[in-house]
Protein backbone atom coordinates (compact mmCIF):
# COMPACT_ATOMS: atom_id res chain seq x y z
CA UNK A 1 0.00 0.00 0.00
CA UNK A 2 2.87 2.35 0.79
CA UNK A 3 4.19 2.46 -2.75
CA UNK A 4 0.80 2.35 -4.43
CA UNK A 5 -0.44 5.31 -2.38
CA UNK A 6 2.67 7.45 -2.77
CA UNK A 7 1.75 8.78 -6.23
CA UNK A 8 -1.84 9.83 -5.46
CA UNK A 9 -0.72 11.22 -2.09
CA UNK A 10 1.90 13.43 -3.68
CA UNK A 11 -0.70 14.64 -6.19
CA UNK A 12 -3.17 15.46 -3.41
CA UNK A 13 -0.46 17.34 -1.57
CA UNK A 14 0.43 19.39 -4.65
CA UNK A 15 -3.23 20.28 -5.15
CA UNK A 16 -3.56 21.19 -1.48
CA UNK A 17 -0.53 23.48 -1.63
CA UNK A 18 -1.73 25.17 -4.84
CA UNK A 19 -5.36 25.35 -3.73
CA UNK A 20 -5.39 28.86 -2.13
CA UNK A 21 -3.85 30.28 -5.31
CA UNK A 22 -6.38 28.81 -7.70
CA UNK A 23 -9.61 28.37 -5.74
CA UNK A 24 -12.06 31.05 -4.57
CA UNK A 25 -11.55 32.16 -0.98
CA UNK A 26 -14.80 30.56 0.11
CA UNK A 27 -13.64 27.11 -0.90
CA UNK A 28 -10.31 27.64 0.76
CA UNK A 29 -12.03 28.45 4.04
CA UNK A 30 -14.02 25.21 3.70
CA UNK A 31 -10.72 23.36 3.72
CA UNK A 32 -9.95 24.67 7.21
CA UNK A 33 -12.54 22.62 9.15
CA UNK A 34 -11.73 19.68 6.87
CA UNK A 35 -8.10 19.74 7.96
CA UNK A 36 -9.02 20.24 11.62
CA UNK A 37 -11.39 17.26 11.47
CA UNK A 38 -8.76 15.33 9.55
CA UNK A 39 -6.37 15.59 12.47
CA UNK A 40 -9.04 14.66 15.02
CA UNK A 41 -10.13 11.68 12.93
CA UNK A 42 -6.62 10.34 12.53
CA UNK A 43 -6.64 10.02 16.29
CA UNK A 44 -10.20 8.78 16.58
CA UNK A 45 -9.49 6.04 14.06
CA UNK A 46 -6.59 4.73 16.10
CA UNK A 47 -9.26 3.98 18.67
CA UNK A 48 -12.03 2.98 16.24
CA UNK A 49 -10.37 1.25 13.30
CA UNK A 50 -7.22 -0.05 14.93
CA UNK A 51 -8.35 -0.80 18.49
CA UNK A 52 -12.02 -1.56 17.84
CA UNK A 53 -13.61 0.95 20.21
CA UNK A 54 -16.27 3.37 18.96
CA UNK A 55 -16.41 6.57 20.98
CA UNK A 56 -19.53 8.72 20.96
CA UNK A 57 -17.91 11.32 23.15
CA UNK A 58 -14.91 12.66 21.34
CA UNK A 59 -16.45 16.11 20.92
CA UNK A 60 -15.35 16.36 24.54
CA UNK A 61 -11.73 16.51 23.42
CA UNK A 62 -12.46 18.74 20.44
CA UNK A 63 -14.13 20.98 23.02
CA UNK A 64 -11.15 20.87 25.37
CA UNK A 65 -8.91 21.98 22.51
CA UNK A 66 -11.24 24.77 21.44
CA UNK A 67 -11.93 26.03 24.96
CA UNK A 68 -8.26 25.90 25.89
CA UNK A 69 -7.52 28.17 22.94
CA UNK A 70 -10.37 30.52 23.78
CA UNK A 71 -9.47 30.58 27.45
CA UNK A 72 -5.79 31.29 26.86
CA UNK A 73 -6.36 34.02 24.28
CA UNK A 74 -9.12 35.66 26.32
CA UNK A 75 -7.91 35.34 29.90
CA UNK A 76 -4.18 35.49 29.37
CA UNK A 77 -1.79 37.22 27.05
CA UNK A 78 -0.87 33.98 25.34
CA UNK A 79 -1.38 34.28 21.59
CA UNK A 80 1.05 31.71 20.25
CA UNK A 81 -0.78 28.92 18.44
CA UNK A 82 2.09 26.55 19.19
CA UNK A 83 1.74 27.17 22.92
CA UNK A 84 -2.05 26.85 22.66
CA UNK A 85 -1.72 23.53 20.84
CA UNK A 86 0.69 22.12 23.40
CA UNK A 87 -1.44 23.23 26.36
CA UNK A 88 -4.61 21.92 24.70
CA UNK A 89 -3.05 18.54 24.02
CA UNK A 90 -1.76 18.33 27.57
CA UNK A 91 -5.15 19.29 28.96
CA UNK A 92 -6.80 16.61 26.82
CA UNK A 93 -4.32 14.02 28.04
CA UNK A 94 -4.96 15.00 31.67
CA UNK A 95 -8.72 14.65 31.23
CA UNK A 96 -8.46 11.53 29.05
CA UNK A 97 -6.27 9.68 31.54
CA UNK A 98 -8.97 9.05 34.19
CA UNK A 99 -11.89 9.10 31.73
CA UNK A 100 -10.13 6.58 29.50
CA UNK A 101 -9.10 4.40 32.41
CA UNK A 102 -12.75 4.05 33.33
CA UNK A 103 -14.15 3.71 29.79
CA UNK A 104 -11.72 1.07 28.50
CA UNK A 105 -12.91 -1.38 31.10
CA UNK A 106 -16.01 -1.70 28.94
CA UNK A 107 -16.45 -2.60 25.30
CA UNK A 108 -18.92 -2.18 22.48
CA UNK A 109 -22.11 -0.31 23.35
CA UNK A 110 -21.10 0.12 26.99
CA UNK A 111 -17.89 1.83 26.00
CA UNK A 112 -19.80 4.02 23.54
CA UNK A 113 -22.43 4.97 26.12
CA UNK A 114 -19.82 5.78 28.75
CA UNK A 115 -17.90 8.05 26.39
CA UNK A 116 -21.22 9.66 25.48
CA UNK A 117 -21.93 10.25 29.16
CA UNK A 118 -18.57 11.93 29.74
CA UNK A 119 -19.11 14.02 26.63
CA UNK A 120 -22.45 15.20 27.98
CA UNK A 121 -20.90 15.95 31.36
CA UNK A 122 -18.41 18.23 29.70
CA UNK A 123 -21.14 19.84 27.58
CA UNK A 124 -23.15 20.59 30.70
CA UNK A 125 -20.06 21.94 32.40
CA UNK A 126 -19.26 24.45 29.66
CA UNK A 127 -22.93 25.39 29.42
CA UNK A 128 -23.45 25.99 33.13
CA UNK A 129 -20.13 27.38 34.37
CA UNK A 130 -20.86 30.72 32.84
CA UNK A 131 -18.08 32.68 34.51
CA UNK A 132 -15.43 30.35 33.25
CA UNK A 133 -16.79 29.45 29.83
CA UNK A 134 -19.28 32.13 28.88
CA UNK A 135 -22.14 29.61 28.99
CA UNK A 136 -24.23 29.28 25.85
CA UNK A 137 -22.76 32.46 24.40
CA UNK A 138 -19.31 30.95 24.50
CA UNK A 139 -15.97 32.70 24.51
CA UNK A 140 -14.05 34.63 21.92
CA UNK A 141 -11.03 32.93 20.39
CA UNK A 142 -8.66 35.80 19.62
CA UNK A 143 -6.62 35.36 16.46
CA UNK A 144 -3.40 33.58 17.46
CA UNK A 145 0.09 34.25 16.19
CA UNK A 146 1.68 31.62 13.98
CA UNK A 147 5.31 30.69 14.66
CA UNK A 148 5.67 33.99 16.49
CA UNK A 149 4.36 36.09 13.59
CA UNK A 150 1.55 38.43 14.71
CA UNK A 151 0.11 38.83 11.17
CA UNK A 152 -2.09 41.63 12.55
CA UNK A 153 -1.96 43.60 9.32
CA UNK A 154 -3.79 40.86 7.42
CA UNK A 155 -7.55 40.93 7.06
CA UNK A 156 -9.33 37.96 8.65
CA UNK A 157 -9.85 36.26 5.30
CA UNK A 158 -6.30 36.87 4.19
CA UNK A 159 -5.06 35.41 7.48
CA UNK A 160 -7.24 32.34 7.15
CA UNK A 161 -6.68 31.48 3.50
CA UNK A 162 -3.00 32.37 3.69
CA UNK A 163 -0.82 31.63 6.70
CA UNK A 164 -3.43 29.76 8.71
CA UNK A 165 -4.32 27.50 5.79
CA UNK A 166 -0.71 26.44 5.35
CA UNK A 167 -0.24 26.11 9.09
CA UNK A 168 -3.21 23.73 9.23
CA UNK A 169 -1.98 21.80 6.22
CA UNK A 170 1.48 21.40 7.72
CA UNK A 171 -0.03 20.22 10.98
CA UNK A 172 -2.29 17.73 9.20
CA UNK A 173 0.67 16.31 7.30
CA UNK A 174 2.72 16.10 10.49
CA UNK A 175 -0.16 14.44 12.34
CA UNK A 176 -0.59 11.95 9.50
CA UNK A 177 3.11 11.09 9.37
CA UNK A 178 3.23 10.52 13.12
CA UNK A 179 0.05 8.43 13.01
CA UNK A 180 1.39 6.43 10.06
CA UNK A 181 4.41 5.55 12.16
CA UNK A 182 2.23 4.67 15.14
CA UNK A 183 0.01 2.24 13.25
CA UNK A 184 3.02 0.60 11.61
CA UNK A 185 4.93 0.23 14.87
CA UNK A 186 5.06 -2.73 17.25
CA UNK A 187 2.62 -0.74 19.38
CA UNK A 188 0.20 -0.46 16.45
CA UNK A 189 0.36 -4.21 15.95
CA UNK A 190 -0.47 -4.79 19.61
CA UNK A 191 -3.52 -2.52 19.25
CA UNK A 192 -4.75 -4.65 16.37
CA UNK A 193 -4.37 -7.84 18.39
CA UNK A 194 -6.52 -6.21 21.06
CA UNK A 195 -9.13 -5.29 18.44
CA UNK A 196 -9.19 -8.73 16.82
CA UNK A 197 -9.23 -10.99 19.86
CA UNK A 198 -8.73 -9.64 23.40
CA UNK A 199 -8.65 -13.14 24.95
CA UNK A 200 -5.86 -14.26 22.65
CA UNK A 201 -4.02 -10.94 23.00
CA UNK A 202 -3.91 -11.33 26.78
CA UNK A 203 -2.65 -14.89 26.47
CA UNK A 204 0.27 -13.48 24.47
CA UNK A 205 1.07 -11.04 27.26
CA UNK A 206 -0.60 -7.97 25.72
CA UNK A 207 -2.53 -6.13 28.41
CA UNK A 208 -5.85 -5.28 26.78
CA UNK A 209 -6.98 -2.44 29.10
CA UNK A 210 -3.56 -0.84 29.02
CA UNK A 211 -3.36 -0.76 25.23
CA UNK A 212 -6.93 0.48 24.94
CA UNK A 213 -6.02 3.24 27.35
CA UNK A 214 -2.96 4.24 25.32
CA UNK A 215 -5.12 4.43 22.20
CA UNK A 216 -7.75 6.45 24.03
CA UNK A 217 -5.14 8.91 25.25
CA UNK A 218 -3.60 9.31 21.80
CA UNK A 219 -6.99 9.85 20.21
CA UNK A 220 -7.87 12.51 22.80
CA UNK A 221 -4.63 14.39 22.18
CA UNK A 222 -5.25 14.36 18.43
CA UNK A 223 -8.83 15.51 18.92
CA UNK A 224 -7.69 18.44 21.06
CA UNK A 225 -5.25 19.58 18.38
CA UNK A 226 -8.08 19.31 15.86
CA UNK A 227 -10.34 21.27 18.21
CA UNK A 228 -7.88 24.16 18.38
CA UNK A 229 -7.70 24.39 14.59
CA UNK A 230 -11.46 24.00 14.27
CA UNK A 231 -12.17 26.91 16.60
CA UNK A 232 -9.52 29.35 15.40
CA UNK A 233 -11.28 30.44 12.18
CA UNK A 234 -14.66 30.94 13.88
CA UNK A 235 -13.26 33.40 16.41
CA UNK A 236 -15.72 32.12 18.99
CA UNK A 237 -16.14 28.90 20.91
CA UNK A 238 -19.55 27.78 22.15
CA UNK A 239 -20.99 24.61 23.72
CA UNK A 240 -22.45 23.21 20.46
CA UNK A 241 -18.89 22.22 19.68
CA UNK A 242 -18.97 19.82 22.61
CA UNK A 243 -22.52 18.57 22.03
CA UNK A 244 -23.02 14.86 21.42
CA UNK A 245 -24.23 15.33 17.85
CA UNK A 246 -20.76 16.65 17.12
CA UNK A 247 -19.31 13.39 18.44
CA UNK A 248 -21.78 11.63 16.18
CA UNK A 249 -20.51 13.63 13.22
CA UNK A 250 -17.00 12.40 13.91
CA UNK A 251 -18.17 8.80 13.84
CA UNK A 252 -20.18 9.54 10.68
CA UNK A 253 -17.14 10.98 8.92
CA UNK A 254 -15.10 7.94 9.89
CA UNK A 255 -17.75 5.57 8.56
CA UNK A 256 -18.20 7.68 5.43
CA UNK A 257 -14.52 7.48 4.58
CA UNK A 258 -13.92 3.98 5.92
CA UNK A 259 -12.43 3.04 9.26
CA UNK A 260 -10.57 0.08 7.81
CA UNK A 261 -8.15 2.25 5.89
CA UNK A 262 -5.58 4.75 7.10
CA UNK A 263 -6.70 7.66 4.93
CA UNK A 264 -10.39 6.75 4.92
CA UNK A 265 -11.40 9.02 7.81
CA UNK A 266 -9.58 12.01 6.24
CA UNK A 267 -11.44 11.35 3.01
CA UNK A 268 -14.62 11.12 5.07
CA UNK A 269 -14.01 14.52 6.64
CA UNK A 270 -13.41 16.05 3.22
CA UNK A 271 -16.57 14.63 1.68
CA UNK A 272 -18.60 15.47 4.80
CA UNK A 273 -17.57 19.14 4.78
CA UNK A 274 -18.25 19.64 1.09
CA UNK A 275 -21.42 17.61 1.08
CA UNK A 276 -22.76 19.49 4.09
CA UNK A 277 -22.00 22.79 2.41
CA UNK A 278 -23.54 21.78 -0.89
CA UNK A 279 -26.67 20.23 0.58
CA UNK A 280 -27.19 23.15 2.98
CA UNK A 281 -27.12 25.62 0.13
CA UNK A 282 -29.98 23.93 -1.74
CA UNK A 283 -31.95 22.18 0.99
CA UNK A 284 -32.37 23.34 4.58
CA UNK A 285 -32.83 19.86 6.07
CA UNK A 286 -29.30 18.63 5.48
CA UNK A 287 -29.50 16.16 8.35
CA UNK A 288 -32.29 14.35 6.52
CA UNK A 289 -30.02 13.83 3.53
CA UNK A 290 -27.16 12.74 5.76
CA UNK A 291 -29.40 10.26 7.51
CA UNK A 292 -30.20 8.61 4.20
CA UNK A 293 -26.52 8.55 3.29
CA UNK A 294 -25.60 7.00 6.63
CA UNK A 295 -28.22 4.27 6.21
CA UNK A 296 -27.03 3.57 2.67
CA UNK A 297 -23.43 3.42 3.83
CA UNK A 298 -24.08 0.91 6.56
CA UNK A 299 -26.11 -1.31 4.23
CA UNK A 300 -24.24 -1.05 0.94
CA UNK A 301 -20.74 0.15 1.76
CA UNK A 302 -19.73 -0.77 5.29
CA UNK A 303 -16.10 -0.21 4.32
CA UNK A 304 -16.84 3.40 3.38
CA UNK A 305 -15.64 5.37 0.39
CA UNK A 306 -12.08 4.16 0.81
CA UNK A 307 -13.39 0.60 0.58
CA UNK A 308 -15.32 1.43 -2.59
CA UNK A 309 -12.25 2.97 -4.15
CA UNK A 310 -9.99 0.10 -3.17
CA UNK A 311 -12.34 -2.63 -4.37
CA UNK A 312 -12.18 -2.09 -8.15
CA UNK A 313 -8.40 -1.99 -7.96
CA UNK A 314 -8.57 -5.42 -6.33
CA UNK A 315 -6.11 -4.37 -3.69
CA UNK A 316 -6.61 -5.27 -0.09
CA UNK A 317 -5.25 -3.33 2.83
CA UNK A 318 -1.81 -4.47 3.80
Amino acid sequence: MTRAAAGPLAAVLVVAVAFPHVAPAYHVTLMLPFMAYGIALLGLNLLFGYTGLVSFGHALFLGIGAYTGAFLTTHSKIRSLEVILVVAMLAAAIVAAPVGALCVRYVKIYFGMLTLAFGMLFYTFVLKFYHLTGGDEGMPFVRPTLLGLPLASLSKTAYLIGPFYYYSLALLVLAAVVMWRIVHSPFGLCLRTVRDNPLKAESLGVSVPRYRWYAFLTSAVYAAAGGVLLATPTGNVDPTLAYWTHSGNLVFMTLLGGFASFFGPILGAFVFIYLQDTVMSVFPYWRLVFGVILAALVIFAPTGLAGLIARPAGSSRR
Binding site: I182, S185, P186, C190, K200, S203, L204, Y214
Partner: protein
Amino acid sequence: MILEARDVRQLYGDFCALDGVSLAVEPGQVVSIIGPNGAGKSTLINVLTGLLRPTQGAVRFKGRDIRGIGPVRLAQLGLARSFQLVQIFPDLTVRETLQAAVVSRLGRGRRFLASLATDREVARDAERVAELFGLAGHLASRARTLPQGDKKLLDVASAFALRPEAILLDEPTSGVSTRDKTAVMEMLVRASRGVGIETILLVEHDMDIVFAYSDRIVALQQGRVLADTTPEGLRRNEALVAAVVGRLPGTGAFREPAP
Protein backbone atom coordinates in the same frame (compact mmCIF):
# COMPACT_ATOMS: atom_id res chain seq x y z
CA MET B 1 9.55 -28.00 40.40
CA ILE B 2 8.33 -25.46 37.87
CA LEU B 3 4.59 -25.52 38.39
CA GLU B 4 2.83 -26.59 41.52
CA ALA B 5 -0.71 -26.68 42.84
CA ARG B 6 -1.27 -27.71 46.43
CA ASP B 7 -4.60 -28.61 48.05
CA VAL B 8 -6.54 -26.50 45.59
CA ARG B 9 -10.24 -26.18 46.31
CA GLN B 10 -12.59 -24.36 44.04
CA LEU B 11 -16.17 -23.82 45.05
CA TYR B 12 -18.91 -22.47 42.81
CA GLY B 13 -21.59 -21.77 45.36
CA ASP B 14 -22.27 -25.18 46.90
CA PHE B 15 -20.67 -27.05 44.05
CA CYS B 16 -17.13 -28.20 44.62
CA ALA B 17 -15.35 -28.22 41.25
CA LEU B 18 -11.90 -28.96 42.67
CA ASP B 19 -11.60 -30.76 45.96
CA GLY B 20 -8.03 -30.67 47.27
CA VAL B 21 -6.16 -31.08 44.01
CA SER B 22 -2.37 -31.25 44.24
CA LEU B 23 -0.11 -31.38 41.25
CA ALA B 24 3.61 -30.89 40.77
CA VAL B 25 5.25 -30.49 37.39
CA GLU B 26 9.00 -30.93 37.07
CA PRO B 27 10.93 -29.06 34.39
CA GLY B 28 11.44 -31.11 31.25
CA GLN B 29 8.33 -33.20 31.70
CA VAL B 30 5.26 -33.66 29.57
CA VAL B 31 2.38 -33.97 32.00
CA SER B 32 -1.09 -34.82 30.78
CA ILE B 33 -4.30 -34.02 32.58
CA ILE B 34 -7.10 -36.40 31.75
CA GLY B 35 -10.56 -37.10 33.01
CA PRO B 36 -14.16 -37.25 31.86
CA ASN B 37 -16.21 -34.13 31.25
CA GLY B 38 -17.08 -32.45 34.51
CA ALA B 39 -14.03 -33.86 36.28
CA GLY B 40 -12.67 -30.38 36.85
CA LYS B 41 -10.13 -30.14 34.00
CA SER B 42 -11.29 -26.74 32.78
CA THR B 43 -11.39 -25.34 36.29
CA LEU B 44 -7.91 -26.65 36.97
CA ILE B 45 -6.62 -25.07 33.76
CA ASN B 46 -8.17 -21.76 34.72
CA VAL B 47 -6.54 -21.98 38.14
CA LEU B 48 -3.16 -22.97 36.70
CA THR B 49 -3.25 -20.17 34.11
CA GLY B 50 -3.99 -17.51 36.69
CA LEU B 51 -7.49 -16.78 35.38
CA LEU B 52 -9.23 -18.05 38.47
CA ARG B 53 -8.22 -17.45 42.05
CA PRO B 54 -8.95 -20.69 43.88
CA THR B 55 -11.11 -20.65 46.98
CA GLN B 56 -8.31 -22.39 48.86
CA GLY B 57 -4.85 -23.70 48.24
CA ALA B 58 -1.58 -22.60 46.72
CA VAL B 59 -0.56 -22.28 43.07
CA ARG B 60 3.05 -21.51 42.22
CA PHE B 61 5.01 -21.10 39.02
CA LYS B 62 8.79 -21.02 39.46
CA GLY B 63 8.14 -20.51 43.16
CA ARG B 64 5.93 -17.45 42.66
CA ASP B 65 2.36 -17.25 43.78
CA ILE B 66 0.29 -17.05 40.60
CA ARG B 67 -3.20 -17.24 42.08
CA GLY B 68 -5.44 -15.04 39.97
CA ILE B 69 -2.58 -13.02 38.48
CA GLY B 70 -4.13 -13.19 35.02
CA PRO B 71 -2.88 -14.34 31.64
CA VAL B 72 -0.80 -11.25 30.84
CA ARG B 73 1.49 -11.51 33.86
CA LEU B 74 1.67 -15.27 33.51
CA ALA B 75 2.74 -15.05 29.88
CA GLN B 76 5.41 -12.56 30.93
CA LEU B 77 6.57 -14.94 33.66
CA GLY B 78 7.04 -17.70 31.12
CA LEU B 79 3.90 -19.83 31.15
CA ALA B 80 1.99 -19.68 27.88
CA ARG B 81 -1.10 -21.47 26.68
CA SER B 82 -3.10 -22.40 23.63
CA PHE B 83 -6.84 -22.82 23.54
CA GLN B 84 -9.20 -25.71 23.02
CA LEU B 85 -11.42 -23.55 20.81
CA VAL B 86 -9.11 -21.99 18.26
CA GLN B 87 -8.17 -18.41 19.05
CA ILE B 88 -6.67 -16.34 16.26
CA PHE B 89 -6.55 -12.70 15.14
CA PRO B 90 -8.81 -12.92 12.08
CA ASP B 91 -7.60 -9.78 10.30
CA LEU B 92 -3.93 -10.21 11.05
CA THR B 93 -1.65 -12.14 8.75
CA VAL B 94 0.24 -15.19 9.97
CA ARG B 95 3.39 -13.07 9.99
CA GLU B 96 1.73 -10.33 12.05
CA THR B 97 0.28 -12.84 14.50
CA LEU B 98 3.69 -14.35 15.19
CA GLN B 99 5.33 -10.92 15.22
CA ALA B 100 2.85 -9.80 17.88
CA ALA B 101 3.95 -12.65 20.13
CA VAL B 102 7.63 -11.88 19.55
CA VAL B 103 7.05 -8.15 20.17
CA SER B 104 5.32 -9.03 23.41
CA ARG B 105 8.12 -11.37 24.47
CA LEU B 106 10.79 -8.77 23.77
CA GLY B 107 8.81 -6.11 25.63
CA ARG B 108 8.67 -3.87 22.54
CA GLY B 109 4.91 -3.30 22.53
CA ARG B 110 5.26 0.27 23.67
CA ARG B 111 7.62 1.32 20.89
CA PHE B 112 5.04 3.46 19.16
CA LEU B 113 7.25 5.29 16.69
CA ALA B 114 9.55 2.40 15.80
CA SER B 115 9.12 0.64 12.49
CA LEU B 116 7.90 -2.93 12.80
CA ALA B 117 8.76 -3.69 9.18
CA THR B 118 12.46 -2.98 9.70
CA ASP B 119 12.80 -4.85 13.00
CA ARG B 120 14.94 -7.75 11.78
CA GLU B 121 15.00 -9.54 15.11
CA VAL B 122 11.21 -9.70 15.33
CA ALA B 123 10.89 -10.72 11.68
CA ARG B 124 13.50 -13.47 11.93
CA ASP B 125 12.01 -14.92 15.08
CA ALA B 126 8.50 -14.91 13.65
CA GLU B 127 9.67 -16.60 10.47
CA ARG B 128 11.54 -19.25 12.41
CA VAL B 129 8.46 -20.21 14.38
CA ALA B 130 6.42 -20.25 11.17
CA GLU B 131 8.89 -22.72 9.69
CA LEU B 132 8.71 -24.97 12.74
CA PHE B 133 4.96 -25.20 12.27
CA GLY B 134 4.97 -25.50 8.50
CA LEU B 135 3.32 -22.10 8.17
CA ALA B 136 6.15 -20.41 6.30
CA GLY B 137 4.21 -20.57 3.05
CA HIS B 138 1.29 -18.72 4.60
CA LEU B 139 3.11 -15.78 6.18
CA ALA B 140 1.23 -13.21 4.12
CA SER B 141 -2.18 -14.89 4.48
CA ARG B 142 -4.76 -13.44 6.76
CA ALA B 143 -5.50 -15.77 9.66
CA ARG B 144 -9.21 -15.99 8.86
CA THR B 145 -8.47 -17.32 5.37
CA LEU B 146 -6.46 -20.30 6.66
CA PRO B 147 -7.86 -23.83 6.70
CA GLN B 148 -9.11 -24.89 10.13
CA GLY B 149 -6.09 -27.08 10.83
CA ASP B 150 -3.70 -24.25 10.11
CA LYS B 151 -5.70 -21.91 12.34
CA LYS B 152 -5.20 -24.37 15.16
CA LEU B 153 -1.48 -24.54 14.40
CA LEU B 154 -1.25 -20.75 14.31
CA ASP B 155 -2.90 -20.51 17.72
CA VAL B 156 -0.32 -22.92 19.14
CA ALA B 157 2.56 -21.41 17.14
CA SER B 158 1.91 -17.91 18.47
CA ALA B 159 2.05 -19.25 22.03
CA PHE B 160 5.34 -20.99 21.14
CA ALA B 161 6.66 -17.70 19.75
CA LEU B 162 6.62 -16.39 23.32
CA ARG B 163 9.38 -18.96 24.00
CA PRO B 164 7.88 -19.76 27.38
CA GLU B 165 9.52 -22.11 29.84
CA ALA B 166 6.30 -24.04 30.16
CA ILE B 167 3.26 -24.28 27.95
CA LEU B 168 -0.25 -25.50 28.51
CA LEU B 169 -1.78 -27.08 25.46
CA ASP B 170 -5.53 -27.40 25.77
CA GLU B 171 -6.50 -30.22 23.43
CA PRO B 172 -4.02 -29.37 20.70
CA THR B 173 -5.32 -32.17 18.48
CA SER B 174 -9.03 -31.56 18.87
CA GLY B 175 -10.60 -31.03 15.47
CA VAL B 176 -7.66 -32.80 13.86
CA SER B 177 -8.46 -36.05 12.09
CA THR B 178 -7.33 -39.20 13.90
CA ARG B 179 -4.92 -39.88 11.07
CA ASP B 180 -3.17 -36.51 11.53
CA LYS B 181 -3.06 -36.37 15.32
CA THR B 182 0.30 -38.06 15.65
CA ALA B 183 1.82 -35.85 12.98
CA VAL B 184 0.57 -32.76 14.81
CA MET B 185 1.95 -34.00 18.12
CA GLU B 186 5.31 -34.82 16.53
CA MET B 187 5.42 -31.29 15.18
CA LEU B 188 4.56 -29.80 18.58
CA VAL B 189 7.22 -31.80 20.38
CA ARG B 190 9.82 -30.92 17.76
CA ALA B 191 8.81 -27.25 17.82
CA SER B 192 8.95 -27.08 21.59
CA ARG B 193 12.53 -28.30 21.44
CA GLY B 194 13.16 -25.80 18.65
CA VAL B 195 12.11 -22.81 20.72
CA GLY B 196 13.43 -24.13 24.02
CA ILE B 197 10.21 -25.00 25.82
CA GLU B 198 11.07 -27.51 28.52
CA THR B 199 7.79 -28.31 30.09
CA ILE B 200 4.47 -29.18 28.50
CA LEU B 201 1.18 -29.49 30.26
CA LEU B 202 -1.20 -31.33 28.01
CA VAL B 203 -4.95 -31.59 28.27
CA GLU B 204 -6.05 -34.27 25.88
CA HIS B 205 -8.94 -36.62 25.27
CA ASP B 206 -7.18 -38.92 22.87
CA MET B 207 -5.68 -41.63 25.08
CA ASP B 208 -3.35 -42.91 22.39
CA ILE B 209 -1.75 -39.47 22.27
CA VAL B 210 -1.68 -39.25 26.06
CA PHE B 211 0.03 -42.62 26.45
CA ALA B 212 2.50 -41.95 23.67
CA TYR B 213 3.71 -38.53 24.71
CA SER B 214 3.32 -38.17 28.48
CA ASP B 215 5.98 -38.59 31.13
CA ARG B 216 3.25 -38.41 33.71
CA ILE B 217 -0.50 -38.57 33.69
CA VAL B 218 -2.78 -36.89 36.20
CA ALA B 219 -6.27 -38.33 36.16
CA LEU B 220 -9.08 -36.23 37.56
CA GLN B 221 -12.49 -37.41 38.60
CA GLN B 222 -15.15 -35.38 40.32
CA GLY B 223 -12.72 -32.69 41.33
CA ARG B 224 -10.15 -35.03 42.86
CA VAL B 225 -6.89 -36.49 41.68
CA LEU B 226 -7.70 -40.14 41.09
CA ALA B 227 -4.20 -41.04 39.97
CA ASP B 228 -0.88 -39.34 39.38
CA THR B 229 1.28 -41.87 37.64
CA THR B 230 3.34 -42.82 34.61
CA PRO B 231 1.75 -44.06 31.38
CA GLU B 232 2.94 -47.58 32.33
CA GLY B 233 1.43 -47.27 35.79
CA LEU B 234 -1.89 -46.21 34.34
CA ARG B 235 -1.87 -48.88 31.66
CA ARG B 236 -1.34 -51.59 34.29
CA ASN B 237 -4.29 -50.43 36.34
CA GLU B 238 -7.25 -51.46 34.23
CA ALA B 239 -9.82 -50.46 36.81
CA LEU B 240 -8.38 -47.00 36.87
CA VAL B 241 -8.39 -46.71 33.10
CA ALA B 242 -11.97 -47.83 32.99
CA ALA B 243 -12.92 -45.26 35.61
CA VAL B 244 -11.22 -42.38 33.87
CA VAL B 245 -11.51 -43.07 30.19
CA GLY B 246 -13.93 -45.92 29.91
CA ARG B 247 -11.81 -48.07 27.65
CA LEU B 248 -8.29 -49.22 27.00
CA PRO B 249 -6.15 -47.50 24.43
CA GLY B 250 -5.52 -49.38 21.24
CA THR B 251 -9.13 -50.56 21.14
CA GLY B 252 -10.19 -47.61 19.02
CA ALA B 253 -9.62 -43.95 19.45
CA PHE B 254 -11.29 -42.72 22.56
CA ARG B 255 -13.69 -39.96 21.69
CA GLU B 256 -15.66 -37.77 23.95
CA PRO B 257 -17.87 -34.91 22.82
CA ALA B 258 -16.37 -31.51 23.51
CA PRO B 259 -17.97 -29.77 26.51
